[in-house]
Amino acid sequence: QETKTIGVSIPAADHGWTAGVVYHANRVAELLMKEHPGLKVVVKTSPDPATQANALQDLEVQGIDALVILPTDPDPLVNAIKEVKSKGTFVSIVDRAPSVNDNSVRDLYVAGNNPALGEVAGQYIKDNTPDAEVVVIRGLPIPIDQQRQDGFDKAIAGSNVKVLDRQFGNWNRDDAFKVMQDYLTKYPKIDVVWCQDDDMAVGVLQAIEQAKRTDIKYVVGGAGSKDMIKKVMDGDKMIPVDVLYPPSMVGTAMELTAAAIYDQVPVHGTYTLDATLVTADNAKNYYFPDSPF
């Protein structure tokens, strides 16, 4: 088989979810290389957009036939991606879409569905606790976070669900713990916490436990970490559901990309993954005890 190189540029493992991304990227890289003997898959991680732009340049220097990129932050990277694409490289963008997301930027878009993540969570809360007073813990001030918030707001629009407060928890357990502690001080009654991320849910649960508050009915996280899926599976009252946002989507994109450059299958356009609601019934399908996430 002819030799080809796929460059994979993903965020550094600085958080549970991105750690999952790194895990799956490496896992699929090995699989693909076994499958296609001439194929070389180079996985590179970067902590921020500027570094990732550098990583793209460096991959280009090495010579790649296809690029799979999960941008740390899409818009700042558009120019850098265009630069790669202009050399005729096949480009797949995963998860985070730039504001202009058409064929000029990429060939393939494998979409994690951020608005849906918010929407599914909002829908669940609306359906199960229609009069809930909710506190929200946001991530970092970047667009994907905004998309999740928008999705959530859309879902609860017009209902009796009331958002008491929104603050940034930086997708960090310790910060989420602090924010939750302060929420508990500030609001005598909270029904539901939506923290849109399983890492932050860890801190939230500890804060609630410490305060011995019983008014909180449940916490909705997101992403599908093995710990939270396990809780759902075990029927934990505080974590009845989780919203899937699988880090394995990067692997899906890599497989599609390999198919595109080897099998000449016309792979183009957008593949949107669902933000599946994980419940006690389906949880075991999403439980990967070996993953770091």
Binding site: A13, H15, Y23, R166, Q167, K178, T185, D227, P292
Partner: protein, 336 residues
């Protein structure tokens, strides 16, 4: 008495003692001001639970900052403390998960000892690279910051390391969440650590040497003080303080990750400086330091409890408050 040393008896004749006292008191004044503001912002703020919460969670930064007071007083700087927390915590949890010792209590004791030893060794490494290697502490500890963080990421494979045995967790949990005579354990630990640190800094020969080395290295050397030894020990003390912070951190969430402790070094240094210790070395103020740590935590707390600040602007307001608090301190010390 230890407070006496802190209130550096500046200016010999007359006018002296007054502005001196004020300099040491200034951070506490700023703290009081914040408490008043907080009470105005939200009535829940001044409640015991909230204040205990804030004090308790300031424990990590406060204890690390106490160590940083030594390093900074001796004229150095340690940027690696945040990563060191993550590194020590990872090793500690991995050891506890390894199940090397069957008895849970014994295991916990061994893990505690391990954490302290590793913290001390990390500090020693920083100290030796800085003094023996003769590298600016900024660069040396920036390097080890990368190393400790990198090793943690590698140990955790980028994910989280979680205490696996629920039994261990239950046994260990009270160290963060428990309280003695109604006072949360972490607060007691802060007070204990600070008291010991104050004793070392103000009442022992080593403490004197720290100040001398930080104030003027040549003078210290000419007075027969082993400058490198003093500096290295300061780094080791910093490492031990980090280990103590880890001992409180692990029972809180029962887990750690590659992101644990990010930017804590900046917070610790800020606490030290807000507490009145000069970054250029020389006089150290241990009690001021924990006051500084408390102030930092309070500012965040007040922001969250207030209802009128856009979440986007919190950073900006926090920054302004720090500056204003320092200006208040300054004007306090200058006027009278």
């Amino acid at each position: 008495m230890s407070m006496n040393t802190e209130t550096d008896p500046r200016a010999p004749r007359g006018r002296g003692w007054r502005d001196v006292d004020l300099r040491a008191i200034a951070p506490f004044a700023a703290l009081a001001l914040l408490l008043v503001i907080g009470a105005l912002v939200n009535p829940n703020f001044i409640g015991l639970t909230n204040l205990a919460n804030v004090a308790t969670r300031s424990a990590f930064i406060a204890i690390i900052a106490v160590g940083a007071t030594f390093v900074i007083s001796s004229g150095d700087l340690d940027l690696s403390v945040g990563s060191m927390v993550a590194f020590v915590a990872s090793l500690m949890i991995l050891f506890m998960n390894s199940g090397a010792i069957a008895d849970p209590a014994l295991m916990l004791a061994a893990a505690v000892a391990l954490a302290v030893v590793i913290g001390g060794l990390c500090g020693l490494a920083n100290g030796l690279i800085t003094t023996v290697g003769r590298i600016e502490p900024f660069i040396a500890t920036l390097g080890t910051m990368g190393i400790y963080r990198g090793l943690t990421t590698w140990l955790s494979q980028g994910g989280a390391i979680t205490l696996s045995s629920p039994q261990q967790q239950a046994l260990y949990r009270p160290v963060y969440f428990g309280s003695i005579l109604g006072i949360p354990v972490p607060i007691l630990v802060i007070l204990l650590v600070t008291a010991i640190a104050a004793f070392i800094l103000y009442r022992t020969r080593y403490g004197r040497h720290v100040v001398a080395v930080g104030s003027n290295r040549d003078v210290a050397r000419y007075s027969g003080i082993g400058v490198d030894r003093v500096r290295t020990i300061a780094f080791v003390i910093q490492g031990l303080c980090v280990a103590i912070a880890v001992l409180l951190y692990v029972p809180r969430l029962g887990s750690t990750s590659a992101t644990t402790g990010i930017l804590w070094e900046l917070q610790a240094i800020t606490a030290v400086v807000v507490g009145g210790t000069a970054l250029k070395g020389g006089a150290g103020r241990v009690w001021g330091t924990i006051c500084g740590a408390f102030i930092l935590e309070l500012v965040g707390n007040i922001m969250l409890l207030s209802n009128f600040i856009s979440e986007y602007l919190i950073g900006a307001i926090q920054g302004s408050i720090i500056i204003i608090a320092m200006l208040v301190q300054r004007s306090l010390t200058r006027k009278s």
